[in-house]
Symmetry: C2
């Protein structure tokens, strides 16, 4: 069975999205400053290290879990199509049929909690890992529940000042982490941590 890991970008002051996010403002005010390194992967020079880090994430990912808010904000930018190369499960508040585009299931909705979502994700992931893609609230739920094995934070050299904090509403019982790898690039520092239980 694979691991459960979260992979998410964060400003140096701790935000994973800006304020006032919504379908018309998917990353929130100034939120593109946090995530632009990711969208520039294929275009900018000097970012080979970023590409390697993200290729590694893609190759280990057997299934994706994301929150309803991330799904709703992403739907227009993604044109309704799952942007990952693995099945995606959306945590929802009520039952809902899968979203199908061109005859393919793009997103499956799970309304009975994160453990059920993880069971379903694991059932399709095989030996590969389940990635918790965000947003912040979902990452926090997985940390609090003790279900997360690893977290990779892409620390972006920006002070956003306001927005959605990646790590919030946790407490000291969530314990120690162990930094298992650091990768530098011109635009972002990739820090991978194992959660010590």
């Amino acid at each position: 069975m694979g691991m459960v890991f979260a992979d998410i970008s964060m400003s140096l002051d701790g935000f994973s999205a800006g304020s006032n996010d919504g379908p018309a403002n998917p990353l929130g005010d100034h939120g593109t400053r946090i995530h632009q390194w990711f969208f520039g992967l294929d275009n900018e020079p000097g970012h080979a290290a970023d590409s390697r880090v993200m290729d590694e994430v893609t190759s280990r990912t057997g299934a994706v879990i994301l929150g309803r808010r991330m799904f709703e904000n992403g739907l227009v930018p993604w044109s309704g199509v799952n942007p990952w190369a693995a099945p995606a499960f959306v945590l929802a508040h009520e039952p809902r049929d899968p979203l199908i585009v061109d005859g393919q299931i793009q997103f499956t909705f799970v309304y009975n909690g994160i453990e059920s979502a993880l069971d379903q994700a694991r059932s399709v992931a095989g030996d590969r890992d389940v990635i918790i893609a965000g947003g912040a609230n979902i990452v926090q739920q997985f940390i609090r529940s003790g279900l997360l094995d690893e977290v990779q934070i892409h620390i972006v050299p920006v002070l956003l000042g306001a927005g959605i904090r990646l790590f919030d509403q946790l407490d000291a019982r969530q314990g120690e982490l162990e930094c298992v790898r650091v990768v530098e690039s011109p635009s972002v520092t990739h820090l991978k941590y194992r959660i010590v239980r």
Copy 2:
């Protein structure tokens, strides 16, 4: 003239001290988890990289500025003696005579604002740099004022959950940073940023 730089430890979730800090609880609840790497410098194996980073800070420091709260919380652990190898200026709310121990000035108090403190610190620092030692509130004041040239963050692999956030009450105008160096060690990641204006 030297640079103005801040040097401070931060938990991965953004705290530089725990909750309920005070003279009887200098680093706040669980705050030693953020700073223990620093106090273990001379004792633990595998921390040569940490020592090199801190030696570099010591050698570039010509004067130190710290906040009143950090001073009051530190006074007992420091036995009233300036723990830095350079003159220390404390931001105070009213005029106060220097603190003298064994005939030596340990701390000088500045009550008329951060720019005055910086002028006084620069006047003794010569070609060396002025370090903003903390706490969080003072670092924020220097960032907001545009007086800070560099910030070195020691990111500790701990989720504290509550306490004093290092970066708070800033806004997006504080702008971009440029990561100029990353140093890994077993217990902490040292990230040095230049502030881009």
